[in-house]
């Protein structure tokens, strides 16, 4: 590629001396960000990004609210692959019967967690409370 001829009047001295410091800075920051992003994504690629989702749900808080009880939970995906439409089901079993509530979480990315809540009319502390993920779809 012959680019010299039309740059003659601007490019009087050595081209290296004409690169302004701000250009070096901008290009340097860009290069740094490229390497950083490649590093993180590459690391993920090599560290089990293709392991199918494993989702564990832990109950974080149970509070009496108007009309019943609110159970806050955290769904944690301990594997690398993201899960979509994760269905979480909670069951309160008491002597007088059971109550089931469920919710769908749109996405739980790999090695990440998402929070949600379930409502019950029975008091979870009066019996046993079990909350678990019952299924997911590939994104």
């Amino acid at each position: 590629m012959n680019r010299e001829y039309k740059t003659g009047e601007i490019q009087a001295g050595k081209p290296v001396q004409q690169v302004p410091w701000l250009e070096w800075l901008a290009a340097g920051i860009g290069l740094f960000l490229v390497l950083g992003i490649f590093g993180v994504i590459g690391w993920q690629a090599l560290n089990g990004a293709t392991v199918p989702p494993v989702i564990t749900v832990t109950v974080e808080n149970v509070t009496p609210v108007e009309g019943g009880y609110r159970v806050l939970f955290r769904a944690q995906n301990t594997a690398g692959e993201a899960a979509a439409q994760v269905e979480v089901e909670g069951k309160v079993s008491t002597d007088s019967g059971e109550e089931v509530s469920q919710v769908v979480i749109d996405y739980v990315p790999g090695h990440s967690d998402r929070r949600g809540g379930l409502f019950f009319t029975r008091d979870p502390s009066s019996g046993t409370l079990a909350v678990r993920a019952i299924g997911f779809a590939d994104p």
Partner: protein, 272 residues
């Protein structure tokens, strides 16, 4: 070229990154694709974008370039602008919060920085008042047929990328009959040809000397549509839309996404 002038170019680049990146910043599928698409495919996509940025810098960067080194520096600077803009806006829109995992955050930023960094590169041309149109035209002349094809590729990539993440691309492909698909393919080629050669947009290509309709059609329109389809296939594959899908359905999707892609290819000269 002084630092002050370069700073003005950078400011325009930020403007371009915001404006051209905005539609996808506010597209839900982009957020989930950021963490759910294949890591290898995401890396490849970012690398491919960098290569396209180097090429775009040659034709129209935010400053005049004189060597491959400067084109590469411009490409990195544009990518940096894209990453910074995407990060700030994704945080402002609460798409990124700091209780997310690093892989999640970086994935979202990396994917979003693809359109934003192309926008940054185009920012100077679109938002700048004084442009060296003559130098640009000279370069386009000089680069010849290969340069023409590259510009079509860049235009197709940009527009196809703006549509491909949405569910609608697949939905449209599912609800079309083969006749719809054939009609859309013909319409895409027709518009590509008309946009490039007939209706007098600025930056329009003049029909090559002594070229007949047929040779122009084969060399530019058909080649352009081919590029649009390949770019569509690449983008759909990147997003995992083609995984486990029958060839016939993929062909439908290609025609659907090939429509915006071919318009992008046709108007690349206006934008770039």
């Amino acid at each position: 070229m002084t630092s002050e002038r370069y700073a003005i170019g950078l400011a325009r680049a930020f403007g371009g990154a915001i404006i051209f990146g905005l539609p996808l910043l506010m597209t839900m599928e982009m957020w989930s694709l950021g963490f759910s698409m294949g890591r290898g495919r995401l890396l490849l996509l970012v690398g491919f974008t960098l290569a396209v940025l180097v090429g775009l810098s040659y034709f129209s960067g935010f400053e005049k370039t004189f060597s491959l080194k400067e084109d590469a520096m411009d490409a990195f600077a544009a990518f940096g602008v894209g990453v910074i803009t995407s990060t700030l806006l994704l945080v402002a829109l609460a798409v990124i919060t700091f209780d997310m995992s690093w892989g999640d955050i970086i994935g979202r930023i990396a994917l979003q920085s693809v359109p934003a960094s192309v926008g940054a590169m185009l920012g100077r041309k679109q938002l700048g008042a004084e442009q060296d149109m003559q130098a640009e035209e000279e370069r386009k002349q000089e680069a010849g047929y290969a340069g023409e094809l590259f510009l079509m590729l860049a235009g197709a990539l940009f527009l196809a990328f703006n549509m491909a993440p949405t569910e609608e691309m697949i939905l449209i492909a599912f609800q079309m009959t083969p006749w719809h698909a054939l009609a859309l393919g013909v319409l895409s080629m027709l518009l590509l040809h008309v946009f490039v050669y007939s209706i007098g947009f600025s930056g329009q290509e003049s029909r090559p000397e002594g070229g007949t309709f047929l040779s122009t059609f084969l060399r530019f329109t058909l080649a352009g549509y081919g590029i649009a389809l390949l770019v569509s296939l690449y983008v759909l594959w990147s997003f995992g839309r083609t995984d486990g899908v029958a060839v016939a359905e993929i062909a439908n999707m290609l025609v659907v996404l090939g429509f915006p892609a071919s318009l992008g290819a046709a108007t690349a000269r206006l934008v770039v």
